[in-house]
Symmetry: C2
Subunit: 370 residues, 2 copies
């Protein structure tokens, strides 16, 4: 008998989990309306909200690949009984303000922020503060969407009309000139918490462009692990995975945001780690053994985004880079859309960075971002 796992969402995070589980006697179902997604190319068990009961009946255990889940789905009690890592992180993640308040309430260090009741107030507070800021829409925000960076009063005036007329709510964060950004992914099964190797992340225009394993000080590593561990407990997560992105500034580390799921910054683990973040998720929710997976080699990842067509020429250029592994999600290209990624492995960190630059320049030859 196979084990049956249901995933809410059918994108690449579900897709890569399915590929990882396919050789482990696990059957999958996904809940998604989209046929233009990775999972729909891989399996037949695709359910929609109209067939939610069948999806729940199929699944021994249910997890999710994104947090912006239709609240109606979360009213299904049979689903909630099988859901890991549970509904609490979803509620927080669906509203940036709730997330920030929660972190503040439990004394997790974040960048200073200000609450506002609407766009008009956001504009007024930002005007008074006269600081570098990021104004963020509180809902539906991911991959840099709904974020407005204010370096000068001109930047603020440019979005004044938009803010005042907007029906969204906003929060204001002080802009942080951090030294670098890192991610740490942890898996939990009751008392056992384990960690994936940490990465340094490079964003462009608010979206992850590439990341890589790096030589982090023990102090940073231990601080990050302690925070992730406490956050897992504070969120009352019993089984599942939690990714936390941190800003590092001198010896301080601030939570930028967290995600109760596998994460873009963990894709590198498919090729450089003893087991991947996708296997970690499956181990955690299926009560399979957890241990701290070691790096097999140094590694990293470059996202493939935007209006890129994967023709044979592009495949050839990527596959010529030694240690590069191509992952293509089979979605339609669209401005800003994540279409795939390239993992790289290398004997040392410098070599890993060089390979990442090579791949980045192959993907984005005309943009000065690599």
């Amino acid at each position: 008998m196979s084990i049956k796992v249901g995933i809410i969402g059918g994108g690449q995070l579900a897709g890569l989990t399915i590929l990882e589980g396919a050789s482990k006697n696990i059957d999958f179902a996904v809940l998604t309306d989209s046929r233009d997604s990775m999972a729909s190319h891989l399996i037949n068990n695709i359910y929609t909200e109209d067939s939610l009961d069948e999806f729940v009946a199929f699944s021994d255990v249910i997890t999710y690949e994104f947090e912006h889940i239709n609240p109606k789905i979360l009213e299904n009690n049979k689903l909630l009984d099988k859901l890991y890592p549970g509904v609490k992180p979803i509620e927080l993640k669906q509203n940036r303000l709730k997330e920030k308040r929660f972190l503040k309430e439990y004394n997790f260090m974040t960048v200073p922020f200000y609450e506002t009741k609407d766009g008009k107030e956001a504009y007024e507070i930002a005007s008074e503060l006269k600081k570098e800021l990021i104004i963020k829409s509180i809902s539906n925000g991911y991959d840099g969407k709904g974020q407005y960076v204010i370096h000068t009063s001109d930047d603020l005036e440019k979005i004044k009309e938009f803010l005042i007329n907007s029906k969204d709510e906003f929060l204001i964060e002080e802009f942080c000139y951090f030294d670098f950004e890192i991610s740490l992914i942890a898996g939990i099964n009751n008392d056992i918490i384990v960690y994936m190797p940490m990465t340094k992340n490079i964003h462009k225009n608010g979206v992850l462009l590439y990341n890589f394993t790096d030589d982090f000080s023990m102090e940073i590593q231990e601080k990050a692990k302690a925070i992730v561990s406490r956050l897992l407990k504070t969120l009352n997560i019993k089984k599942g995975i939690l990714t936390v992105e941190f800003f590092v500034k001198a010896k301080d580390i601030y939570i930028n945001e967290f995600a109760p799921r596998v994460h873009n910054t963990g894709h590198h683990t498919l090729d450089d780690t003893e087991y991947s973040q996708f296997e970690l998720l499956l181990r955690a929710i299926l009560d399979l053994p957890l241990y701290h997976p070691s790096l097999k080699t140094q590694g990293g990842m470059v996202n493939i985004m935007g209006n890129i067509q994967l023709d044979k020429d592009l495949m050839k250029h990527i596959m010529l880079v030694e240690g590069a592994k191509l992952y293509w999600y089979r979605k339609s290209p669209r401005e800003g859309r994540k279409l795939g990624h390239v993992n790289i492995t290398a004997k040392n960190i410098d070599f890993a960075k060089t390979k990442i630059k090579s791949v980045c320049k192959i993907l984005y030859p005309h943009q000065n971002i690599c």
Copy 2:
């Protein structure tokens, strides 16, 4: 547009190729009568001999996961036009005697052998030789099937009746007390030949039990590469993959047998090599770049065979071994059948061997074979 690859055969070699290609914009079809196979759990494009024309029409390129292909299939000219690594190696592999004669004709070093016209003559020649021998059926032989090891005249007398009454043909090989056995897998695309990392292979009862990357002398490596390269050219293979198993005795290396396809001894590459044998096959037949993939770390593999049920307890025991990765083919257990394998990775060879022994003992606790 995706690339379309057809595979003759739907077992684990096809299945693992499909999983490797799934994230590279490649669509697969398999030609198989079996629904109790790995590929039938992964894709819907399953064709049989009755729908051979559709299989051929679907495929841009066709390859095979075994050589014992129904000759009727090989009469389809449209299929032959798309077939890599071609039909010549299949003809040789379908008949052990043809394979041996071919190797002898082109001066490839093999263990001394004797031709016989039938089982009766095989018995008579074996009686006269008074040596340790292996009597092999010339057709349908793989995984130790159709092989009879003769250490003593008693061993021979035990199969006398069988031989004399058999309708098979047989060849006789001198039994070789070699030091160890190795495999080397090469990929070719026209002028370019590249090699996977070499492994040492341990068989039990004529079937591969486990193998691992090892510290081979340059001399052995260069000899093996020279032979594989010459064999590729002699077989006139333009695009594809070739696995050669060698016996090593002091400084001599003898070809044991070859297979024009991905191979059980190459499964370890999924986890310890920059790209796997399955990706090598796809690169070779699809004109994608080839380079010598390096080991990311040391590694090895243990086969899961026979009447083993993959229950959760067994999964837990395997997944507790650090660096062990489970692959389960979802076939029905049956005596001697390969049902899955466990790859391991480790920082050094000694550690790899220790892990292999651990996994082997978990799988076969009551057999004294690990």
